[in-house]
């Protein structure tokens, strides 16, 4: 799958989504906006996980940091919403730099475990700091600027910002930085031996991923007008990891697909039974056992087998 085809696919999807609100009930526009938000979150995670080979086990912290950064700026500090929207991702990026700096010296699983722990500290602080963060209630009814206050407005804002963020991440992954990052994923020692400073690139990747995680957090604020501590609880981090895995963590669009599947499944299964997490758990076991490359990975593999050798160049 050529790089250009990925972009074309993404643009087509965005075009379809752009006309969706005219034919769909309001609930579905909300659902799609939620999918785009979560998909951006999962893609930003996969930026470091699938393309960087970094065990970013607690990515949701940056989602929460972005959302809380925006919400607190708007509600508690009284700044204009647009300023809040910019602050959110910056806060997330700074936080990811700090956590990344502590973790990046460690290898793989050690890194992941420490990150889960440090992320949980951030969660615990947010959870307890009633005066500033609203504690376990979170912050609700965050006022939005008129332009994006309506469901239509927030939908298109989400779509545009989400789409742009995806394009930027795609561009970065295909830049020399992206090549170096994928090199580090495949072989750390070889990367060092060709002159790539592994930790510095990893840290930069973590900050970029954190930033876009924060953008996703802001989008959630726009869609839902609220924030709550569950947004940065570790279980959510692993859920988005599942999304990346389910969609295909070696593909760019996989996490978006995974997010679409998981978010829609949750919406519909939760309507039928209380045991959604059981369904999710079983789904995950099945994916790990039978679809280790994820849905898109599987599709590409089948497709590659069918087409001639010459087109096997890239499947991103």
């Amino acid at each position: 799958m050529g790089a250009r085809k990925s972009i074309v696919a993404l643009l087509i999807i965005l075009a379809i989504l752009a006309i969706a609100p005219f034919g769909l009930p309001r609930f579905y526009t909300y659902l799609i906006a939620l999918i785009v938000t979560t998909g951006l979150l999962a893609t930003s995670l996969n930026f470091v996980l699938g393309f960087g080979g970094i065990y970013q086990f607690h990515h949701a912290v940056f989602y929460g940091a972005g959302a809380y950064g925006a919400a607190i700026m708007i509600v508690k500090l009284g700044y204009p919403a647009w300023l809040g929207f910019i602050t959110g991702p910056v806060v997330a990026a700074v936080l990811s730099f700090v956590i990344g700096l502590i973790c990046v010296r460690l290898s793989k699983l050690y890194f992941g475990m420490l990150q889960i722990s440090l992320g949980s500290l951030v969660w615990a602080i947010v959870y307890r700091w009633y005066g500033f963060t609203g504690g376990d209630d979170g912050i609700h009814g965050i006022p939005m600027p008129e332009l994006i206050g309506s469901p239509f407005g927030s939908y298109y804002f989400t779509l545009i910002v989400g789409g742009l963020s995806l394009l930027v991440m795609y561009r970065i992954l295909n830049s020399p930085f992206g090549s170096a990052l994928q090199g580090i994923r495949d072989n750390v020692v070889r990367s060092q031996a060709v002159g790539v400073s592994v930790r510095r690139h990893q840290l930069a990747a973590i900050v970029i991923a954190g930033f876009f995680g924060g953008v996703a957090g802001v989008l959630f604020v726009v869609v839902d007008n609220s924030v709550f501590p569950d947004m940065m609880f570790w279980t959510l981090s692993l859920e988005i990891t599942i999304m990346a895995l389910l969609g295909g963590w070696l593909t760019f669009l996989g996490p978006l697909l995974g997010a679409a599947v998981v978010v829609s499944l949750r919406t519909f299964v939760s309507g039928v039974t209380d045991y959604w997490t059981l369904v999710m758990g079983i789904l995950l076991v099945l994916v790990i056992l039978f679809l280790p490359e994820g849905l898109l990975g599987y599709v590409f593999e089948v497709w590659k087998r069918r087409t001639s050798e010459s087109s096997e160049v890239q499947q991103r």
Partner: protein
């Protein structure tokens, strides 16, 4: 001297892998390091290139002390290497493998927005041309044969525009034809590109065939270094390494 190694040491959990090795490499030379298995040849290379940090001793490259410099910085100084066990970016294509090395050498890996595809294409193609892998450039390198992967190792090392190229058993596991081609390649690298080459190898025929000088290492210690004939006829070397048989007359 291009490279001087003085009394370098390294131990792992009490095991003294390298214990005061010395090595001189002059510009334009091909120098071989030989020694039995476990003599510390690979460790020595890892110490020179900064993959490992030495416990003691000095590494001087072009008059500059580079002891303990991390691998990504020794590379920038002009020392690149291939690995004994194939060590490549297995999910990327042959072309991308070499391009990463070239991009890194050009200091472009923090470029976030220019597509890689537009950069370093010419340099990468030249390198692949010179090692004879250009036809395979679009294959995912996990799918190459072992011999081709070993050549790719050298190509990646060339991507760093080295002055000193270190090859760790470049022909290990190659078929006889591949070995012959690889030897030609190494000779060409010196004559055409003017590289200084340091390598280690088990096959004595290859060693005496292409090296100007030889350093012999046994149990982490340098026994002797000198011209081929000098080393070949040294009694200590014959006792310790060549099995006591008289190879001087071979």
């Amino acid at each position: 001297m291009m490279l001087e190694v003085r009394g370098i040491q390294k131990s792992f959990a009490g095991f003294q892998a390298v214990n005061g090795a010395n090595l001189d490499v002059a510009e334009g030379e091909i120098v071989a390091v030989i020694g039995p298995n476990g003599a510390g040849k690979t460790t020595l290379f890892n110490l020179i290139t900064g993959i490992l940090t030495p416990d003691g001793g000095q590494v001087i490259f072009k008059g500059e002390d580079i002891t303990g410099l991390p691998a990504h910085r020794t590379c920038k100084k002009g020392i690149t290497r291939s690995f004994q066990v194939v060590n490549i970016f297995s999910r990327l294509t042959v072309f991308e493998n070499v391009r990463i090395a070239v991009l890194s050498q050009q200091g472009r890996t923090f470029n976030l927005f220019t597509p890689s595809k537009r950069l370093a294409t010419k340099e990468t193609a030249e390198i692949l041309e010179s090692v004879g892998l250009i036809r395979k450039k679009d294959s995912v390198c996990g799918a190459l044969s072992h011999g081709e992967q070993k050549v790719l190792e050298i190509a990646i090392a060339l991507g760093g525009k080295p002055e000193l190229l270190i090859l760790d058993e470049p022909t290990a596991g190659m078929s006889p034809e591949e070995t012959a081609r690889c030897i030609d390649l190494i000779k060409q690298l010196r004559t055409n590109m003017g590289l200084t080459i340091l390598f280690c190898e088990h096959d004595m025929e290859i060693v005496f065939g292409i090296a100007n000088r030889i350093m012999v290492m046994v149990r982490g210690v340098t026994i002797i270094q000198g011209a081929c004939d000098e080393v070949r006829c040294n009694q200590a070397v014959q006792d310790a390494y060549l099995g006591g048989s008289d190879v001087c007359s071979v």
